[in-house]
Amino acid sequence: MRQADVIIVPCSGIGKPYGTVSREAAYEITEELRPDQTQLVPLSLLVLGDEATHSIVERNPAITIDGCKLACATKMVKECGGQVAHNIAVLDVYRRHKQLKPQGIAILNEGGLKLAHALAEEILPMADQLIEIARKGEQNG
């Protein structure tokens, strides 16, 4: 994995719409909105104990996206010694966008895709704040 300023760790809930929404939002951030400064970290690699992934989590602030109250993404990052700079729950975002009910699993419905976009937009300022902190840290030596 390459070095990034911020890591995004979405829910790995396979087969659940809210988990899929979390991953779609993470893709939008890491592949489209801030591809050079953010990196998606798959939860599965943390669970499996992948050393390179653990190392990235230990060295970079994380934004975790949880698909349900079990909050696996947040818990796993903390267990790996990572710093959860921000965490966000898909359900909380849905409560702010009631018209965007996510449905579907492998392929989200229109509401789910729009919810993922809304989620990405909420995450973006958090990511930018962390990117800015990283930049200042680099400048200061």
Binding site: K16, P17, Y18, C68, K69, L91, Y94, R95, K98
Partner: protein, 146 residues
């Protein structure tokens, strides 16, 4: 202080509060005089998943037993909840608007849904399940689903 009957099946534990009655769906009714507080059981909230929204019928709504009182939307399902008593809604839990997840966190306490001014509590309650009867019912359902 509320006491509970506990059922543990597989990795799940369900509490049944012993100080109230239940309808078949898992809506509980706790009477204080003619005022009956209603909510959903621990089993129903766990089986339904995280609550996203709870819409309660407006204050003043007159209900017969079995009438829809609330609709709860969770991450898994939309549930229509029927009234366990007849009467009119006199109070709605304000947390249903701002923090409906309280239903998951404290289904028998702060997660109550509404208070109904009952018109015939004695006869309505005689048709509800007591805690032991409800316990037996959910034990069967839980074993089937796990």
């Amino acid at each position: 202080m509320t006491e509970f009957l506990k059922i543990t099946i597989d990795k799940f534990t369900f509490n049944v509060a012993t100080d109230r009655y239940y309808n078949e769906e898992g809506v509980w009714a706790l009477a204080q005089g003619n005022r009956v507080r209603i909510g959903i059981s621990d089993f129903l909230q766990q089986r339904s998943g995280d609550v996203a929204f709870a819409e309660i019928k407006p204050q003043g709504t007159v209900l017969a037993v079995g009438d829809e009182t609330a609709v709860i939307e969770t991450v898994k399902v939309n549930i229509s909840l029927s009234s366990p008593v007849s009467g009119s809604i006199v109070e709605i839990n304000p947390l249903m608007e701002t923090a409906p997840e309280i239903i998951n966190q404290d289904p028998y306490g702060e997660g109550w849904l509404a208070i109904i001014e009952a018109t015939q509590w004695e006869s309505d309650s005689s048709r509800l399940l007591d805690p032991h009867a409800y316990y037996s019912r959910i034990q069967i359902q839980a074993e089937e689903s796990v």
